[in-house]
Symmetry: C2
């Protein structure tokens, strides 16, 4: 069984939420920073508290390695231990690393992120250099069930610069990437109709034409499970994300800041941030996940109906 099959089952059981642990120390309640030996230690403690509070309501976690690299070597210790904290509880974790390099180098990266200190269940990959930068990772689907999400159509403004360019032979660059990913998915079809590798497709707020585009992408890429960023703080709503789901499954929707900083939003008027306890912060994150889960389920049901 591929990790992508496990993710499908997790969505069916627990909803579509992917908790993004892009944990900047600036997002932490003061109660986690007080007494911590370092910012990296405080980040790890906060991640552990959030994982414990949300493991039954989140389909998976996505850990953005940049926030840990920014804290240096100590940050990468926190990164490794965050991945381990999810996996020890039986959760699924996506290493958001967006790697893409020549085959020899890709083999080294795959060893780094699918084995050893930094072992994750999934990674994110960047396709610019071509399919020989993706294929070395793909051998791990067979041996360890590992999965990946390859950048296809992202939700940032710069998406228009290259991903969205029209090709001479028809379609846009992201369609060409999608074509190759659909072919790859056929090689290792999972048990629920989604291949072992999927795609990153963003849920930015959409005009009518863009909503049609999103629906077309979902229809055209029937065998690709989607990792959907852009929800919440990045502006996407449940209805936008639901366009990229299918039959109530087929994708996970990532939110980071709206969960990590939920404790701030839940502060009663006049209450000081310093008074927020670790338990209250974890509970606020849990509530944000449950609300998001319910909003996505309702939107997905509306979309299917």
């Amino acid at each position: 069984m591929y990790n992508m099959d496990k993710l499908y089952e997790a969505v069916a059981a627990k909803g579509h939420v992917c908790v993004g642990l892009d944990t900047s120390p600036s997002y932490l309640p003061p109660s986690f920073l007080r007494g911590a030996a370092s910012e990296a230690d405080a980040v790890l403690a906060y991640n552990r508290a959030l994982i414990a509070a949300t493991i039954d309501a989140a389909a998976c976690y996505k850990v953005q390695i940049a926030y840990y690299e920014a804290l240096g070597l100590a940050g990468l210790v926190a990164y490794a231990q965050t991945l381990a904290a999810v996996r020890e509880r039986g959760g699924l974790v996506i290493a958001d690393i967006k790697r893409g390099d020549i085959a020899d180098t890709a083999q080294q990266y795959a060893r780094a992120h699918f084995e050893g200190d930094f072992e994750a269940d999934f990674v994110t990959l960047s396709p610019y250099m071509g399919m020989d930068s993706i294929e070395p990772w793909f051998s791990y689907t067979e041996t360890k069930g590992k999965g990946a999400f390859v950048l296809m159509r992202t939700s940032n403004k710069g998406m228009k610069d290259f991903e969205y360019r029209e090709l001479k032979t028809g379609g846009r660059l992201y369609d060409a990437v999608g074509d190759r990913l659909s072919e790859l998915a056929e090689i290792r079809p999972g048990r629920y109709g989604y291949g072992a590798f999927g795609a990153v497709v963003g849920a930015d707020p959409k005009s009518g034409a863009e909503r049609e585009e999103a629906a077309a992408v979902r229809k055209q890429r029937g065998n690709l499970f989607f990792l959907i960023p852009g929800y919440g703080a990045q502006g996407g709503a449940a209805g936008d994300a639901a366009l990229l789901l299918r039959d109530g499954n087929g994708g996970v929707v990532n939110a980071s800041r709206s969960i990590l900083r939920a404790w701030q939003a839940s502060l009663p008027v006049g209450e000081e941030a310093v008074a927020v306890t670790p338990d209250a912060a974890a509970e606020a994150a849990r509530k944000a996940v449950l609300d998001m889960r319910d909003a996505l389920r309702a939107a997905a049901a509306g979309d299917a109906g």
Copy 2:
């Protein structure tokens, strides 16, 4: 003064060689592995010996982080100390990390690789997500002189999958990337005609038509300094690389395995690898760098004549 200006001066003084420290433990002479506490320690010791032996003959060093990540946390300690070893000797070092992510994340990455434990002089970046994934790095040109090489036209087989696709509006995808990089270079023009950020353009072995293409790329991208991979073990020759240089400067040519494994090539018939001393291994690497430097200088002079 931008680091790109310093690199131009280093090429003028020392030649075009970029020593690629893609140091797999499998490339090491047994004398470095014997007695080392770990593979990561052996890799670091080997890197330090090679840096000491080549610092006067190499324009710069490129450290491929994948080979260090593959050794886990200990590998990243070796990575950080390898960068430091180059910089302590006054050399220039490129962190080959090929990052590319949304602006908030790019800021975290820039902090990680232009400050602190992993500070490098240059990074490599991937353009797939668009220019908002590049711009947060660019602010460091102004404050710290930092530079970057953005993937444009690489030397691997998969280059044809996406980089080489023709666009509806004319040109190929890599031309569109080049256009945006040329614009960026105009914003921070260096003192030698090359902008603070450059491009990765590969030197794979070329047919007649491909040689014409390389010459056209060099001519068209007058303000981009090139990082040129694909030499040596990847098949490119000095004449291929020279097509991407201009007036004897304008690019550095990376070689990794042909330098890291030079000690093997220099073994006399019948001599055992175990007998190779650390000094002999470093000397073999130095000779490989000098030979490559001379071949590139000769080819660049022939090209100009």
